[in-house]
C-alpha cells in the first residue's frame, strides 16, 4: 500500500509544480535557518564537559569590597577569579581528587637553529592536573610531574597545531624550545581539543582557541609573569613590585577542583569557608561569607557566556520556523482541497477515512523529506556564509573556530526537530481532507 501512496504522492506533486516548489522551498528555508541558528547557539552555549558536570567545580571566594559587590548586577556572585594568595592557600588542601590553579599568559616561542620566525603564542600557566581534569587528549607524551609545578621545571606541553608548525607534526617529545628566551623541554603534545565555550576561563575570550602552550604554574613567580587576561582589583593598594602584586587583592587566577562525591564536596566547602573565616579574623573577607563551588553548566550560565544576542537569535529562529510551518500548513491545505474532487472519487470507490489520511500523510512525508534535504544543503551554505562573517583575519582566525567545528549532534537535533515539526504541520490538512463527505464533490462533477 505504501508504495502505491508514494506513487500517488509523487504524481500529485507534479500536478501543480508551482505550488509544490513553493511548499518545498518554504520547508527548506525554515529548516536551513533553524539548523544554522541552533547550531550556532549550541556551539556557543553547550556544556563542553557535560560528562564530568557532577564532579567539577569552579572555586570562587568573596573577599571583595565590603561596600559593594564585584558585579552590581549580580550582587550574589563572588568575583570569577581568585587572588594569588588565596589560590595558593586553598590549593594546599588535599580533599579534591584533582585540582588546578592557572592563568593565561603570552610568550614568544623560538627554536634554536630553525629558520622559522619566532611565534607569539597564548600560553596557559597551570598546575599539572589541568590535562586529566578536563580530559584533554594527548597526541604524544604526557603531562609533567607534581614536582615540576612549583619547582618549577622547564617543561612544556605544546598544542598539535603549534607542533605541526614548528616540527612538521613529528613526535617532538624531548626536544628543546625557547619560551621568552628561556629554555624548555617538550614533554607532551596536546591533540586537537576545542571545548566550546572555553568553560575553564570564561573571563578571557571564551570562544577563542585553547592555548598553544602549557607551562608549570611556578613559572609565574620565577619569570614575574602577569595575566594576559583580566586582572581586577577593588582596593587602592601600594603595589610597588611583583611581590606586592602577588600579595595584593587583585584577582587573576582561575581555580577548579574535582570532587568525586557529596562528602568530598561538603568537606572542601567547609575547608574554604574555614579559610575565609580565618582571613576575616585577619581583617580580610569583610563581606558576608560567600564562597562558591559551581558546576560547569551553572558556571556558563551565571557568567553570561550565552549573551542576550544569542537568545534573540534563537527566538528569531523559532519565529522563522513557526512562519514556515504555518505557511506549509496553509499551502498543504490549499493543495489538498484543490484535489478534493479526486479524493471524493476515491472515497466513493471505497477508500476509508484512515486510508485517505494515510495517503496524504505520505505526501506530506515526501514534501518534508525533499524539504529537509534541500534545507540541510542550504543550511550548510548559510553556515559557511556565517563563518565568513565571523572570520576576521585569515591569519589569526580566533573565534571562527567555534563555527568551523560544528558538531553533528546539534545539526541532527535541529534537522530532526524541523523535519518532525513539518510532518506534524501536515497532520491537520491530512485529517481535514479525510473528513470531506465524498458526495459534495461527486455532485459537482
Amino acid at each position: 500500500m505504501f508504495g502505491y501512496y508514494l506513487q500517488l504522492a509523487l504524481r500529485n506533486l507534479r500536478r501543480n509544480p508551482g505550488l509544490t516548489a513553493l511548499m518545498i522551498g518554504a520547508v527548506a528555508l525554515g529548516i536551513a535557518v533553524c539548523v544554522m541558528t541552533l547550531t550556532m547557539y549550541h556551539a556557543m552555549s553547550g556544556n563542553p564537559i557535560w560528562w564530568k558536570n557532577d564532579v567539577l567545580y569552579a572555586v570562587t571566594m568573596d573577599f571583595w569590597d565590603p561596600q559593594q559587590p564585584n558585579d552590581e548586577k549580580k550582587p550574589e556572585l563572588p568575583p570569577t577569579q581568585l587572588t594569588y594568595r588565596d589560590a595558593m592557600a586553598v590549593y594546599r588542601s588535599d580533599i579534591p581528587a584533582r585540582k588546578v590553579i592557572m592563568h593565561k599568559a603570552v610568550g614568544i616561542l623560538s627554536v634554536d637553529g630553525q629558520a622559522l620566525k619566532p611565534e607569539r603564542v597564548t600560553t596557559r600557566v597551570t598546575t599539572k592536573d589541568f590535562f586529566q581534569m578536563f580530559d584533554v587528549p594527548m597526541q604524544y607524551g604526557g603531562t609533567w610531574t607534581d614536582a615540576a609545578d612549583f619547582g618549577p621545571e622547564p617543561v612544556m606541553v605544546l598544542s598539535r597545531k603549534m607542533n605541526e608548525k614548528l616540527f612538521g607534526g613529528a613526535n617532538s617529545v624531548g626536544k628543546r624550545i625557547r619560551w621568552n628566551d628561556n629554555e624548555f623541554r617538550i614533554v607532551g603534545v596536546r591533540d586537537n581539543w576545542l571545548p566550546l565555550p572555553a568553560f575553564y576561563d570564561v573571563n578571557n575570550g571564551s570562544l577563542e582557541d585553547p592555548e598553544d602552550v602549557y607551562i608549570p604554574f611556578g613559572w609565574n613567580v620565577a619569570l614575574e609573569l602577569q595575566s594576559a587576561g583580566n586582572t581586577n582589583g577593588w582596593k587602592p593598594e601600594d603595589v610597588k613590585n611583583y611581590q606586592d602584586f602577588l600579595g595584593s587583592e587583585m584577582t587573576w587566577i582561575q581555580m577548579w577542583v574535582e570532587l568525586p562525591d557529596r562528602s568530598a564536596h561538603d568537606k572542601f566547602k567547609a575547608f574554604i569557608d574555614n579559610y575565609a573565616m580565618e582571613q576575616k579574623k585577619a581583617g580580610r573577607y569583610q563581606r558576608p561569607l560567600n564562597n562558591r563551588l559551581t558546576k560547569p553548566d551553572e558556571w556558563l550560565k551565571v557568567n553570561d557566556v550565552v549573551s542576550n544576542d544569542d537568545r534573540i537569535l534563537v527566538g528569531l529562529a523559532f519565529a522563522f520556523l513557526a512562519v514556515c510551518l504555518l505557511n506549509t500548513v496553509g499551502l498543504l491545505l490549499a493543495k489538498f482541497l484543490n484535489n478534493a474532487p479526486l479524493t471524493g472519487v476515491r472515497r466513493a470507490l471505497g477508500a476509508s477515512r484512515r486510508q485517505v489520511f494515510m495517503q496524504h500523510l505520505v505526501e506530506v512525508g515526501v514534501i518534508s523529506t525533499i524539504g529537509a534535504l534541500l534545507g540541510l544543503a542550504l543550511g550548510g551554505l548559510l553556515l559557511m556564509g556565517l563563518r565568513a562573517l565571523y572570520t576576521f583575519d585569515v591569519q589569526d582566525a580566533g573565534g571562527t573556530q567555534a563555527l568551523a567545528h560544528v558538531d553533528m549532534t546539534s545539526v541532527v537535533t535541529a534537522l530532526s526537530l524541523a523535519f518532525f515539526a513539518t510532518i506534524a504541520a501536515g497532520l491537520y490538512p491530512a485529517w481535514r481532507i479525510g473528513r470531506i463527505p465524498p458526495a459534495t464533490y461527486l455532485k459537482a462533477q
Binding site: V33, I108, P118, V239, N241, L326, N327, A334, L389
Partner: protein
C-alpha cells in the same frame, strides 16, 4: 450594495477561515519580528557609527615584541620612534600603552578628593593610557583647554604600578569628577592611595577600550612610556597615505633589530571592526533573516490568494456574467486580502510591543518608538497588497463564459 462589498467578502472569508487564519498568524509574527529587528539594527548601527574623537582613518598601530634576554628595550623604542617620525607622510608617532576601541586596556577608579573612605558612588571610572608628548597630535584628538604634554614631562618606563602626577582627560570624565565646575585645567584629582594628579589639558571627546562599556568616553592620558619588552606605536599619517606608509613601516622595521619580533602593522579599522564584529554580524543576520521571513510571509499571502481564486473560478465567472467589471473582481480579492492582513497586523501590534518591551528591559534600551510600529504596519500592508495583486488580476481575467460551462 455598496461598492466595497465588505459584508459578503467577510462572510465568504469566514466560511473558509482556516487558511486565512494561518496567513494572519504569519503576518502577526512577521510584523512583530520586522518592527523589533529594525529597532535593534538601528541601535547597532548607531553604536558602530558614533564619533570616536580620533582621526581613525589615518591611524596605524605597530607592535614590536622583544623576546631575547639581552634585548635593550630602551634603545629599541628610541630608534623605532625616530625612524617612524622621520618617515615621509607621517604626521606624528607615539608610544602608547594600549589601543583604544580594541577591547584591551586598563581602567582605574578616581576620586575628586583624597581619602580612603569615599562612597563607591563618587568613584569615577576612567580608561587610562600611558602616552608620550606626541600623543595628542598622533591620536588626532582636540584639546579644548590647557595644553599637551611636553617632552620633559614624560616619565621613563617603570616597573611600578604607580600613577603619574599629571593627566590629560576627556571633558566627559572631568565633568563627572567635578560636576559643579566648568574649568577643569589645574584641578587635582586622586588615584589609588590618594595620589594627587593635576589636570593639564582637557580634550573634547575620545573613546576608550571597551565598546560595550558605558564609561567609554572617560579617558585619562598619563605622560609615561609604556613598559617593555612589548612596544605599541601609534602612527598618524597625512590624509590618504595610510596604506603606503604601512608598507614602508613593514619594510623599515621588519628586520631592523633581530632581538625583537615586529608582530604586526595594522590600520586602526582592524581593531574597531573587530570590536564591533558581533554588533555588525547581528545587524546583518537580523536584516537577512527578517527579509527571508517577510518573503515567506508574502509567499503565504500569495498562496492563499491563488487558492481562493482557483476554488472560485465558477463563482467569479458567474459574477462577471451578471455584470461585474474586471475592476470589481480585483477589488474583491484585494479587499479580502486586506482584511486578512489587517487581522494579522492587529495581533502583530500586540506581539511587537510585547517583544519590544522585553528587549528594552533586557538591553536597557529606550522603549520601542511607536513610529517603528507605524512603519511596520504600512510595510506589511504594502507587502500584502503586492502579494495579492497577481492572483487578483488573474481572477479578473476569468472569462464570463466559464459560468455556463460544466467543468
Amino acid at each position: 450594495m455598496t461598492a466595497w462589498n465588505i459584508r459578503p467578502i467577510a462572510s465568504a472569508l469566514w466560511r473558509n477561515r482556516t487558511g486565512a487564519l494561518l496567513v494572519a498568524f504569519q503576518i502577526a509574527i512577521g510584523l512583530a519580528v520586522l518592527v523589533n529587528a529594525v529597532y535593534v539594527v538601528k541601535q547597532r548601527v548607531e553604536l558602530i557609527g558614533r564619533p570616536t574623537g580620533m582621526d581613525t582613518d589615518n591611524m596605524i598601530w605597530v607592535a614590536s615584541a622583544g623576546f631575547t634576554k639581552n634585548f635593550d628595550y630602551d634603545s629599541s623604542w628610541r630608534e623605532d620612534l625616530a625612524t617612524l617620525r622621520g618617515m615621509p607622510g607621517v604626521k606624528a608617532a607615539s608610544l602608547m600603552s594600549n589601543i583604544p576601541l580594541s577591547g584591551g586596556g586598563s581602567s582605574n577608579g578616581f576620586q575628586n578628593r583624597p581619602g580612603e573612605n569615599i562612597p563607591p558612588k563618587e568613584i569615577v571610572q576612567g580608561n587610562n593610557y600611558d602616552v608620550d608628548e606626541q600623543a595628542v597630535e598622533a591620536l588626532g584628538i582636540k584639546l579644548i583647554a590647557g595644553r599637551s604634554f611636553q617632552a620633559s614631562e614624560i616619565q621613563p618606563p617603570s616597573e611600578t604600578f604607580e600613577l603619574s602626577s599629571q593627566a590629560i582627560v576627556t571633558q566627559a570624565f572631568a565633568k563627572e569628577l567635578f560636576p559643579k565646575e566648568t574649568n577643569f585645567v589645574g584641578k587635582t584629582f586622586y588615584g589609588g592611595l590618594s595620589k594627587p594628579i593635576v589636570i593639564v589639558g582637557v580634550i573634547d571627546h575620545m573613546l576608550g577600550a571597551w565598546v560595550g562599556w558605558d564609561k567609554l568616553d572617560h579617558v585619562v592620558l598619563f605622560p609615561r612610556l609604556k613598559n617593555g619588552p612589548t612596544a605599541i606605536y601609534l602612527v598618524r599619517t597625512e590624509p590618504g597615505r595610510r596604506d603606503s606608509v604601512m608598507r614602508d613601516i613593514e619594510a623599515k622595521l621588519g628586520d631592523s633589530n633581530p632581538g625583537r619580533l615586529l608582530r604586526w602593522v595594522r590600520p586602526f579599522d582592524y581593531f574597531i571592526d573587530q570590536s564591533y564584529l558581533d554588533d555588525r554580524n547581528m545587524a546583518i543576520f537580523l536584516v537577512s533573516v527578517t527579509t527571508a521571513l517577510l518573503a515567506i510571509t508574502a509567499l503565504g499571502i500569495f498562496g492563499l490568494a491563488t487558492f481562493n481564486v482557483s476554488t472560485r473560478i465558477r463563482q467569479i465567472g458567474t459574477r462577471r456574467a451578471v455584470g461585474a467589471r474586471r475592476m470589481d473582481i480585483v477589488r474583491h480579492f484585494l479587499v479580502e486580502n486586506w482584511m486578512v492582513t489587517t487581522a494579522g497586523v492587529v495581533a502583530g501590534c500586540g506581539a511587537a510591543l510585547g517583544i519590544g518591551y522585553w528587549i528594552s528591559v533586557k538591553y536597557e534600551l529606550p522603549r520601542l518608538d511607536l513610529y517603528y510600529l507605524l512603519g511596520g504596519v504600512l510595510t506589511i500592508w504594502l507587502i500584502g497588497l503586492a502579494a495579492a495583486l497577481q492572483p487578483a488580476r488573474r481572477a479578473s481575467a476569468i472569462s464570463p463564459a466559464v459560468a455556463s460551462r460544466t467543468v
